[in-house]
């Protein structure tokens, strides 16, 4: 007959193996999900060249409900559209890092930027930019003011900006801030001053 203490030891060893197996499977699945999520949240536009430039970004800080200018070194190409896109992406990059002063959803990015006249620009954002944006008047307006002010500070001559989401018009960013209007940059400048 097998001694009782031996039976208990074998049972415990088997139980430990079973638990380890379950843990390993869960970790593997989690890593796979994270890899998939990371690939989905990857860049939507090719990385562009250009020389490194020292620019100023107007960043939102949720905790203080404020906008503050911060320096950044960004690779900017000569083409005006690409410069605008990379400038905006450098703002979003600040919000996507951890910890973030103004968290945005993974995958928030700029799909394209183009001028429809010399002073009027269309900014086409990705779906996660709006779909995953935290809802609230202040949070949404801080995002738009941060992007528009950074844009006009680094690319003079832009008078009007309109945002699209995944190539289409959307009523609001996340239920509050107007996305249907063409934003006059002068009006946004006055609004942003209230937070600086």
């Amino acid at each position: 007959m097998i001694p009782r203490h031996f039976q208990i030891t074998v049972a415990l060893v088997l139980l430990a193996i079973l638990i380890s197996g379950v843990v390993i499977i869960r970790i593997t699945h989690k890593e796979e999900a994270m890899t998939l999520q990371a690939s989905e949240a990857g860049p939507v536009a090719p990385v562009v060249g250009g020389k490194q430039e020292h620019i100023q970004l107007l960043l939102a800080y949720d905790e203080d409900q404020a906008l503050r200018w911060r320096p950044a070194d960004v690779f900017l190409p000569a083409d005006r559209n690409l410069r605008a896109r990379e400038t905006l992406r450098s703002v979003l990059a600040q919000y996507l890092q951890m910890p973030s002063p103004h968290p945005l959803a993974k995958g928030a990015d700029i799909r394209d930027v183009y001028f429809i006249s010399n002073d009027t620009m269309i900014v086409d954002t990705t779906a996660p930019f709006a779909d995953g944006h935290p809802s609230g008047i202040l949070l949404e307006e801080l995002t738009l003011a941060s992007l528009i002010e950074t844009l006009t500070a680094n690319l003079p001559g832009i008078a009007r900006v309109k945002f699209l989401v995944d190539g289409r018009e959307r009523e609001t960013l996340a239920g509050h801030a107007d996305l249907m209007s063409f934003y006059q940059t002068a009006a946004v400048h006055e609004m942003a001053k209230e937070f600086e």
Binding site: Q65, I137, L139, T172, G175, H176, D178, Y183, M191
Partner: protein, 233 residues
């Protein structure tokens, strides 16, 4: 730009022009109440139905808080002898454009949109900010994006009066001008009030007490501005 314009000032709709639209005279959102010349406040419990608004922790959604606040504000206004209507009485979907259309069609004296969202702990009072390029009115039609232009200074006066009342109650208040939908589409004086609930416990008694204090201050601010500016601010 997909510019659409609304019948904003005319009771008898003139011939429709290209790029402009008119709307039915009956407002289903306000439960079919007929237009009257009497002064009343249109209270907008923002969001509703599938539009839940901001998530405020657990199952607490902005759309529920705004409806509760709207009912409380109606009670506060009634106590001061001021008539009011709610844009929604239940958990229904109502588009932003439709909210503005109903308010304009019924000729509200003042429009108040209620919101609840983070961050912060205080109250934020928003007056409209016209950010789109000014367009010329076409006859009796006003451009939809800047339908508020004729009432902007009165909206700012309402926002100042409400802010002052909130400050008198010792609440932390920020008074801002922002392009919040649908304030710019409303022809009456319009404001939005956003309450930032307690981050630790949005349903605490302290939060409830503060919310009641906010609605009371809004009602007092409206009563004050109405007495200053006559029956139609």
């Amino acid at each position: 730009m997909a510019l659409c314009s609304a019948l904003a000032v005319s009771s008898a709709a003139p011939q429709q022009q290209p790029g402009y639209k008119s709307f039915p005279s009956v407002a289903p959102g306000a439960e079919g109440q007929k237009r009257t010349p009497e002064f009343f406040v249109m209270i907008d419990p923002s969001h509703g139905g599938s539009d839940k608004g901001a998530s405020l922790g657990g199952k607490l959604m902005e759309k529920d808080i705004t409806l509760r606040l709207a009912r409380e504000l109606r009670r506060e206004l009634e106590e001061r002898g001021i008539a009011s209507r709610l844009l929604r009485e239940s958990d229904i979907d109502l588009s932003l454009d439709r909210r503005a259309e109903i308010t304009n069609e019924q000729r509200a004296g003042i429009y108040v949109a209620l919101h609840a969202a983070r961050p912060g702990r205080g109250v934020r009072v928003y007056a409209p900010l016209l950010v789109s390029a000014q367009q010329t009115p076409a006859g009796r039609f006003l451009p939809w994006d800047s339908a508020q232009s004729g009432a902007l200074s009165r909206s700012q006066a309402v926002a100042r009066a409400v802010t002052e009342q909130l400050r008198k109650r010792g609440l932390t208040v920020a008074s801002l001008a922002m392009p919040v939908r649908p304030l710019n589409n409303v022809t009456a004086p319009a404001i939005a009030v956003e309450i930032a609930p307690d981050q630790d416990d949005p349903q605490s008694q302290e939060t409830q007490r503060r919310q009641n204090s906010v609605t009371s201050a809004i009602a007092l601010g409206i009563a004050e501005i109405r007495s200053q500016m006559g029956s139609r601010p």
